[in-house]
Point group: C2
Chain length 264, copies 2
DNA sequence: CTAGCAAATTAATCTAAATCAATATTCTGC
DNA sequence: GCAGAATATTGATTTAGATTAATTTGCTAG
């Protein structure tokens, strides 16, 4: 991944675009509506409000900041920025990455609607990675100190946030196993199946979807090179397990893909 | 409840020993004292009690169960057991691992005194891996439902437990980066330096320590084979960066080891 | 529409680490 | 202390995936 892609948006440049694109009048017309309450959000069954009753959701609503949309490449935060909030993806997608000394990026995660970003900063009070929109996306920002305060009032919220963090831990450990012992093909199959079920979770097709990230992003995430990712895609296509068309993916044989990971 | 929770290693070599060693009378004589309160525990500055005041530590004490010691190979819990508690290591060390279909183990983590085990089970209510003592070890068991209840009463505890989980997430993501782009030597150096600072944390020497795990465990954890781990150890020794004597490790050139990871 | 660049594919070669194999060392229980 | 089993080391060979390189496709801005 070229450094240019990462740094293409300076903060300043950002501000102007935002001023233009998201003027009060434009705001209402924007498809990534910023005025949805948690109560009416289509994601409220998977996001933070899950397990909260009406009154509680209302309280949560009060602390959620619905920011203006992010354009492709815009940063949510950067590595070592002071930790202030966690974010829930409302639409679009994001990637987290760290930069090595040599300027090489290493993608540490992808985030789809309903998923929570930024928990890596909780302990150290500084984000451990940078996070960037992969496409035009919208976000709910939840200031963490307020989330903590509210969690203290609402046992359900505390319980649920523990669960969200626990889920992140379990997921990260699965990736540990993936990277420490799976082949390139297994990693790739696992990655596609993972995306598939995450799309299913938000009521999108589990067998046909667009990849919001580049092959390079995928490679960095899976510990492979772009070339290898590309080759594996071609190979899986030749085996008629998937159909690839640039960013468009169709999973033709989900069960066989599952076998690829299960077998070894 | 607790005695049943301890299960002997599947290599049924020690069934009888358990019966003998953990009889009620033997218990009192055990060097890994089970009657230390959190308030008087030498680890209370790094473990859960940190940031709690005296009265609060006392409340925490009430819910902590100090189980009898675990022998090498004893399991704290097994993959897919119902999640009930998190555990704080009081002495000794543990490893977590998952078994692949082929029966191959993959080590997912090592735990030293003052560290918390079991958070991977919080979300799904079932442990995602098995955890086993690497040596004679002792544990504080903290039933999670009670920890949640108490966290709700003590904002400091809630805050701290969020931090502990956040730390786990950040740590897991570092390993993700390690596995996805570091060479065998870099991984090994990073592993040794990690152990070093974890030992320092519990006031043990950061430059001289015993590895509680086998080369094979290290290999599985780092995504390398035993042979490679052994070779790297030998190579680092030849470079006079470390001194290895079976399980005994001395870090001779910590800064140079750091450079190994920093450079690429 | 097209120039210019980013992203993706494909092929040829190389290499770090795996695998295979043999030996040495260290633990464990009798 | 000794036998047998783990554990660890070392060497020879193989290989999966990296690297290098060239080409193609797609995308964006003028």
């Amino acid at each position: 991944m070229s450094p240019a892609a990462v740094t293409s948006d300076s903060t300043e440049e950002n501000e102007e675009n935002i001023a233009i694109q998201h003027s009060p009048s434009a705001r209402k017309l924007c498809p990534h509506n910023t005025n949805i309450s948690c109560a009416s959000c289509r994601l409220n069954e998977l996001c933070l409000p899950i397990a909260l009753n009406k009154a509680e959701v209302h309280q949560l609503d009060e602390i959620v900041e619905r920011n203006r949309p992010y354009k492709k490449g815009d940063h949510l935060y950067r590595q070592s920025d002071e930790f202030k909030s966690v974010y829930a993806v409302r639409s679009g997608s994001f990637k987290s990455y760290v930069l090595s000394d040599t300027g090489q990026g290493r993608v540490t995660g992808f985030f789809l609607p309903g998923e929570i970003i930024g928990m890596d900063g909780i302990a150290s009070k500084h984000y451990a990675n940078s996070t960037q929109a992969l496409e035009h996306s919208s976000i709910c920002e939840i200031p963490f100190s307020q989330l903590e305060k509210l969690s203290h009032q609402l046992p359900n919220l505390q319980h649920h946030f523990f669960a969200i963090m626990g889920n992140e831990i379990a997921k990260d450990q699965q990736i540990h196993t993936l990277l420490s012992s799976y082949t390139a093909e297994e990693r790739t199959a696992s990655f596609l199946l993972g995306l598939s079920s995450r799309y299913a979770r938000v009521s999108l097709s589990p067998s046909r979807f667009l990849l919001p990230m580049t092959r390079s992003d995928i490679g960095e995430y899976l510990g492979l090179t772009v070339e290898t990712v590309s080759r594996i895609f071609t190979a899986l296509q030749r085996k008629r397990l998937i159909e690839v068309n640039n960013r468009e993916i169709e999973l033709l044989e989900i069960d066989t893909l599952r076998e690829i990971i299960g077998v070894n």
